[in-house]
Amino acid sequence: MTDPVFGLIYIFIFPGFLFLFAYALVLAFLDRKIAARMQQRVGPPFFQPFADFIKMLGKEVIDPAGVDSGIFDVAPLVALAAVMTAYLYVPIVGNSPLAFQGDLVVVLYLMSLPTLVLFLLGWLSRNIFSAIGGIRSVTQLFIYEVPFFLALLTPALMAGTWSISEIVVWQQKNMWFVFLQPISFIIALIGLQAKLERTPFDIPEAETEIVAGPWTELTGRRLAIMDLTIDVSLVVGSALVAALFLGGPMIPWAVTPAWLEGVIGFFLFLAKTLAVLLVLSSIEVATGRIRIDQLNDIGWKYLAGASIVQVGIVLVMNYLWVYA
């Protein structure tokens, strides 16, 4: 990280926030289009998420009586800032220039912030539907976080490093973790679906039961920012899963010149995140919502158990082959 101009371009333009904004809208569009086509509908046109965002920014902001509107203005921005910061540590084109040991933990922490923001908003909305939604949101966080974190820690265990960029480099030399740790891959995908609060885990936002849960009192630009946060989370989550399990933006052999390797790596990054999105969209279309107590059962019995088994297998593999 020597050249400040290079740093500024990386953070703000490419592959920084401008690219992130564009790619988040593209992935949101593709998600809706794929879901629509699977249901034999037509789906939205290409610019629909962008148009929704612009329209929402211009709508009236309604403050319910007795609610602290300052927090309602600031909290969505905090959530958006958290996920945008998490994005900077994920390798997009080659290694991230901001990488350091432990950035995996930082990324996971920052990605949990939107859920806490939703809980806060639900609690402060002073209506029973939002309170129930906020409580469900945090309950869901407790349930899926343990298996999700364990599943994302096993690549770090095997690669022997806490930095995402170095895990990608390890996979370039050896094998993609999706083949070495398939259980972790599946649990990571399920956990990602729960983090993004998509069907079957859209319990906090259950439209037919509690109106819109913690989203009920968000209007105008607050809703636009919160929606954008979820779209950006989708990008960061798929990029994280692609980096940790599918080898990230690296190709398994060296190519000269170096700029060509970067370009091919970038297109591989796009392809891998699109593959993750296809799986997530398919899960969303094929299932219905489950109840919070059923999620409790499934999460603690099957997901947590499977992730612990996977950690055990990884430790044995480490002892016998990787570090023998």
Partner: protein, 119 residues
């Protein structure tokens, strides 16, 4: 997993949405659309006005020479319809002795004033 199979089959085929108004569906012959009157056939018997459940038909002045069953009649009245009160039940068409009033195949349209005279 029949749901999954069908999902992926649908992904690779065309959607079944009909993009109205660019594409249209054929309207069946029995469609009950906007009410219309053929003035030459109406003999002014007021049956439509008596039968209409929504009381959308009133009889007004309408002198005309009409032919009915081979004889010439001097009709005195003719019907006038408040289009937006019409519920398109078709009772007028059913009870008209000369098939002068009928429900056509056009769409009936809608408006905000139920008292406005359209036909």
């Amino acid at each position: 997993m029949s749901v999954l199979r069908e999902m992926f089959e649908n992904l690779l085929s065309r959607p079944i949405t009909i993009l109205y108004p660019k594409e249209k569906v054929p309207i069946p012959a029995a469609f009950r659309g906007r009410v219309a009157i053929i003035d030459e056939k109406c003999i002014g018997c007021s049956k439509c006005s008596l039968v209409c459940p929504a009381q959308a038909i009133t009889m007004i002045e309408g002198q005309r020479e009409v032919e009915f069953r081979g004889k010439n009649l001097a009709r005195k009245k003719r019907p006038q319809i408040k289009l937006f009160k019409c519920i398109r039940c078709g009772l007028c068409e059913r009870h008209c002795p000369t098939e002068a009033i009928y429900l056509s195949n056009e769409l009936s349209g809608s408006g905000t004033d139920p008292e406005v005279i359209m036909v």
